[in-house]
């Protein structure tokens, strides 16, 4: 049980090589669930190995509780890790696997037995204790790997893509189970994944990484609703956010974005955007569920008529694709109101939810609410640019 704080952590594999981790700053409170998410090669696993002590950092500090652990060996950091490959000791039985760390730490055998029984009951693997890892299914191996981590009651759990070797159905089951487990145990947890759904569903805090840099750090809600840049916006969310490149114009003293479906045009007023943006190339971001069918109730919101090009019924929703400003745009509609291909739709947008990004840098334009790295009080503050 402890807080975890990364202070300006840097990592490079040698002079002249690009930095693997650049100025990583984040902190989580005791009992929080932190997700490190990003595409492969973004440095998330390296960062986790650094927290574990399996790799050395080249700058900064890693604080667990009030202690700087960056110079300590892995065994002294009091952390436990679940690996993607599970890394169960193949020649040992499940019981011996769970006991191993306790025996190394010279715990009394009676206490060890108690602990193994507790963990086995918690994870429902009591009937597997005498088997070898090779005799277990993937899901069972995953449970044993968790059991080995739970047994020591460490300060922090580290999970390195623990669900990615499971089949889709089991992955969803285990995801719920992990969340349940965390709610019961309330141990500080760091969880690495490339799966944005796991990131959204499991995390109290999410750090989106790319190229060794934290792109944004915040709650899942902040990351989803208030992405700091184009990368975060495109990485989180499925189906992904629509991006429409356009040029802002000034009309009647207000900034507007002009949308063109080929059939009709509409103006989205950009009231929240500061001046000085007219005639600039921007990218307008719109989540598929933020485009709705025009209805009588919502009046005043801009509407636009567009032709349906493709529909993809997924069951709960139907994805409808239209063409706006020459870009394919996805709308997520309820199946019973979804139109057929070739029909025309009246679409409606909420201008307040529209996001704008700089076309050159990909940075968000306007105000982004996000968690600053040092913020412990969880209050929403201005996102500090890098």
């Amino acid at each position: 049980m402890a807080t975890l704080e990364l202070r300006n952590v840097n990592k490079t594999y040698g002079a002249g090589l690009p930095d693997t981790l650049k100025n990583i700053e984040l902190s989580i409170k005791d009992g929080e669930f932190l997700i490190l998410v990003g595409p492969s090669g973004c440095g998330k696993s390296t960062l986790m190995n650094c927290i574990a002590g399996l790799e050395n950092i080249t700058g900064g500090a890693i604080m667990i509780g009030d202690e700087d652990v960056s110079g300590m060996s892995p065994k002294d950091r009091d952390i436990a890790m679940v690996f993607q490959s599970y890394a169960l000791y193949p020649t040992m039985s499940v019981r011996e696997n769970i006991e191993f760390g306790l025996k190394i730490r010279k715990m009394a055998q009676s206490a060890i037995d108690e602990e193994v029984a507790r963990v086995a009951k918690l994870l429902q693997i009591e009937h597997l204790l005498n088997r070898k890892p090779g005799q277990l299914s993937g899901g069972q191996q995953q449970r044993v790997a968790m059991g080995r981590a739970l047994a020591r009651r460490p300060k922090i759990y580290l999970f390195d893509e623990p669900l990615s070797n499971l089949d889709a159905k089991l992955r969803v089951e285990m995801r719920t189970e992990m969340k349940l487990m965390h709610q019961r145990l309330k141990t500080t947890t760091v969880y690495v994944t490339h799966d944005q759904i796991e990131a959204m569903t499991l995390g109290d805090k999410v750090a989106v990484m790319k190229d060794g840099i934290i792109q944004q750090f915040g709650t899942p809600k902040q990351i989803y609703n208030d992405p700091a840049n184009l990368f975060v916006a495109s990485f989180i969310g499925s189906p992904p956010m629509n991006f429409i490149p356009l040029r802002l114009q000034r009309k009647d003293g207000r900034l507007v974005a002009l949308l063109d479906s080929g059939q009709a045009r509409c103006e989205l007023p950009m009231s929240m955007i500061d001046a000085g943006l007219e005639d600039r190339e921007v990218i307008l971001g719109l989540r598929p569920e933020q485009i709705v069918l025009a209805s009588a109730e919502v009046t005043g919101a801009p509407t636009l008529r567009a032709d349906v090009q493709v529909t993809e019924p997924t069951g709960p929703d139907t994805l409808v694709f239209v063409q706006l400003n020459g870009t394919k745009v996805c709308c997520r509609l309820a199946p019973d109101v979804a139109p057929q291909v070739g029909e025309a739709l009246n679409l409606q947008f909420d201008p307040a939810k529209v996001l704008l990004f700089d076309a050159q840098t990909g940075e968000r334009l306007g105000t982004v609410t996000s968690l600053p790295a040092q913020d412990r009080a969880d209050n929403v503050a201005q996102f500090k640019g890098r």
Binding site: S73, P74, K75, F83, Y89
Partner: protein, 281 residues
Amino acid sequence: MNSLAGKRSISLSRIAIYAVLIFAVLLYLVPLVVMLLTSFKTPEDISTGNLLSWPTVVTGIGWVKAWATVDGYFWNSIKITVPAVLASTAIGALNGYVLSMWRFRGSQLFFGLLLFGCFLPFQTVLLPASFTLGKMGLASTTTGLVFVHIVYGLAFTTLFFRNYYVSIPDALVKAARLDGAGFFTIFRLIILPMSTPIIMVCLIWQFTQIWNDFLFGVVFSSGDSQPITVALNNLVNTSTGVKEYNVDMAAAMIAGLPTLLVYVVAGKYFVRGLTAGAVKG
């Protein structure tokens, strides 16, 4: 084979395959048969009959005489081989463990240089080795010979273990480190128990090499401490008296038996170990 229908049709090609195989087997077995037959013959029988003829009188006198001659040298060979095999395997395992799981700066280069040892002909190390042994005061001692065998064998044993261990996932060592285990604890409790196949390969390989070695034996030992291969050579190459082929053959068989025994006992691991890591799972 047509397993689907279950009928065994013997085609011409199959007969041809078996014929070739049986011929090959016979070809390989003939020398052994000749040796066995000859070892149980009397000297008179050998000079009158041909190589493949059955002994007119089956006698064990050749084996008794052979054992009397090589008895001491047989035990010399055991005293040389067993410690050399065990030590070179143990050190090789440790080397392989370090080179695959605890890489250090330059470890790849180190491994590459070590591989050169596998290609060094025996002859090239004779002079430097004897010089070194002389300096160490181990010239013409069993300890010295064992030492040479260990050093020469390390290149092979390290290669075996290193290549076996690179197929073991790094995460195992990481997990053990987080569990609090140190360098030797991980080796002893996690890595070694997984190493049975490669240990067997190493033991067989090293046993065969060292037991059958002649050159190091003849150079680095003398008199009563020579290994059985050297004794066998001395026996067969005597130029005085009548050639006792039955004794020669029996002595050669005695010299060859231990390696044969090792193959029979541990042979199944040999193929398994050599192919380990080739296929996942």
